[in-house]
Symmetry: C2
Subunit: 414 residues, 2 copies
């Protein structure tokens, strides 16, 4: 006997306090989109923002839009919107550049504040760009030492000591969805006299982050996943106000100057978080992002987290009830409080299975070597989508449709 | 008696081989836009590209567009288009990040190829971000020495010696429009065993650059001026193929990995110019840029240069004929072969005058402390626009309209 019925699921949607949010997004007909943790769909308002940005601001007002349309300050005005979502103050966060570039700035800023310490502590299981940026930094600063969770010790906490300048940690692991305790790890870093950079790529917009409540030093994250800013929308960087005055970072372009339009020969950093800015930002992408961020002004992040936990709990329960006989193994924490808004299952033939699911219009993604990853964005994913997704999974797995040869051929880029 | 008549000017437009290009752009009614060297207007085709990018690629195809719409390779496909414009091979140039960030990568790459040399030579008169990026680099690498044209010697050439690792030079000065000889300065750097990074912000798209013909090592530039890519469209970076194997740069994000989607723990750089890539790029802005670059496939860059010289020669001649009695002083080279596609005049009250011209729908810009700067983009500026611009200038200067108090108040951001 099933643990839950379709009718019960429908009632969950009927009483969902976030139920009205879905209508704010454009979602393709018939698709179950469990990949918003890779690329969020467009808020409908984004279309109007982009139209206005191209037809009025660029085409008609041209150069005057840097002032008139507020282009030049989008780094700050969008930054203030992100700040509200991640628990920072408006003047502690700017939107600019990519997450990778912002990781570099943040690490260098932290090192500039801890000149007597030379160790960076991070995770071997991180999304790789974090590791690659650490590697690039070290290649040009050979006195820096790097210690990796998963290589040098099983836990980040065990690697932090009085040589640690900075810890770089993901709030949510990109593969497993495992959730770190921001408060506890920040406190552990501070107890050792170290600073911490939080990578919020897989958490911003889907759970409370409370950066200031936890005393975080720096944070970075992308805006094209749960913040629905559009493909490759610029990233963000947060620095706690107490660090603004003293920190330095090497990517000191003209946008970070105290007076960018004075065109001084000498660089003088903005006294605040704008010292993280470097060069000119891609305005059309920034204008689309505005619509993504505006959506969050209508909903409580705590309500989003509640629904996120309920969606992922339901998904795990239904998969375990209907699909585990086909060899799926949960690769995410089973306790929702320890989990982000994604669920990963392992299967040796994960790649082929995901291709077969995608053909059935259930979109998740595959991560090497064997992870089927499903993201649940509570603003537009309904409980009934979870039910329908598991029905498709069961069909595909039961029929062995995924064993067809065409699903085994990998695209060059996945 | 005037040296040229309005009828003669109209005949120049009638026989202009680039005359058809103007219709490819959207230009506001009644405006004379001599600021395309700051922000190019939209090619009409950009609207369709952006519509397709948002409504089809993002909204309907979502994550699949990274492959299906070629998003992931826009760095390279757009790069190849820019390469054709600046005289590079397709696989020597990528579009990514901002000019400032690319200056940093290029300087570090050059330093990585000259490990025994510690001096960077550049210009005090550069667009400031170049200087600021050098400053940021040096702050984190204190053994680097910087020598400035205009401070340490009157000419760049005199500063280059066997301690020089890299020269950073603008092909066209952003204020005066002064043009450097790319071949001669590159040869001078190479003779001393140094490398050179060319900043092409004010030359790409408006004159032949011939990077490979001149043996240039690295180049960077923006795409939102004469390439008409849209506000803040991503920049480009060029590296000569002979340097690809050995160079390193510290912003080694996942897009520059040999296999970005293998998600390896260890960074292994792409063997080619893609090793300059870092993080995820702003796709909507990239898609608009495509339309800007496509325009250049229809026109010869040598024809663009010919018209550029003719337009600026005409502008100078007409201003000198009609306006110099009002105190305007040419601040650009009078010889077109030594000048970019812009003309600068000094006037102590330049700011107020420019505001008054803008009110009359003649758009140029002001650069501190006293420069009125006018840019001539030959793809959409006609000879008659030059004539009309000078008529407006004469009217404004003769009437002293610019002395009204409202023109003297500066906006916070100009």
């Amino acid at each position: 006997m099933p643990s839950v019925t379709r009718e019960e699921i429908e009632r969950l949607d009927d009483k969902d306090p976030l139920g009205s949010a879905r209508d704010l997004f454009h979602l393709p007909e018939g698709l179950i989109y469990l990949d918003g943790n890779s690329l969020g769909p467009p808020p409908k308002a984004a279309f109007a923002e982009i139209e206005k940005a191209m037809h009025t601001e660029w085409a008609e007002d041209l150069i005057t839009s840097w002032n008139k349309a507020g282009w030049f300050m989008l780094t700050d005005t969008l930054g203030a919107k992100v700040a509200g979502i991640v628990g920072a103050d408006d003047d502690e966060l700017v939107v600019c550049d990519s997450t990778s570039v912002n990781i570099y700035k943040s690490l260098q800023a932290a090192l500039s504040l801890r000149p007597d310490r030379k160790t960076i502590v991070t995770e071997a299981g991180s999304f790789p760009t974090d590791l690659y940026m650490v590697d690039g930094l070290r290649n040009f600063a050979p006195d820096i030492d790097v210690r990796l969770e998963g290589v040098d010790a099983p836990n980040l906490e065990d690697l932090i000591d009085d040589t640690t300048a900075v810890v770089l940690a993901n709030q949510v692991n990109y593969r497993s969805g495992e959730l770190r305790d921001v408060g506890a790890l920040t406190a552990r870093a501070h107890d050792a006299g170290a600073l911490i950079v939080w990578d919020l790529c897989h958490s911003a917009g889907v759970m409370p982050v409370d950066l200031n409540q936890h005393g975080a030093d720096f944070a970075v994250g992308c805006t094209y996943k749960y913040l629905n800013g559009g493909p490759g929308a610029p990233a963000f960087v947060f620095a706690a106000r107490r660090h603004h005055e003293k920190l330095r970072q090497p990517l000191s372009g003209w946008w970070g100057h105290r007076q960018p339009f004075a065109f001084d020969v000498a660089y003088e950093a903005d006294p605040g978080v704008r010292k993280f800015l470097c060069g000119t930002q891609p305005i059309l992408s920034m204008r689309a992002l505005k619509a993504g961020l505006d959506v969050f002004e209508q909903f409580e992040i705590s309500a989003i987290r509640q629904k996120s936990m309920a969606l992922t709990d339901l998904f795990i329960a239904l998969v375990e009830e209907h699909c585990t006989e086909y060899g799926l193994e949960l690769a995410s924490p089973s306790d929702a409080t320890l989990r982000g808004s994604q669920v990963a299952f392992r299967h040796a033939e994960g790649y082929a299975i995901m291709q077969a699911l995608i053909e059935r219009k259930l979109i998740g993604d595959f991560r090497m070597p064997d992870i089927l990853r499903f993201g649940f964005a509570p603003l537009y994913i309904r409980y009934i989508d979870v039910w329908n997704a598991v029905e498709i999974m069961r069909d595909v797995l039961a029929s062995s449709a995924w064993r067809e040869e065409r699903f085994a051929v990998r695209a060059a880029v996945t």
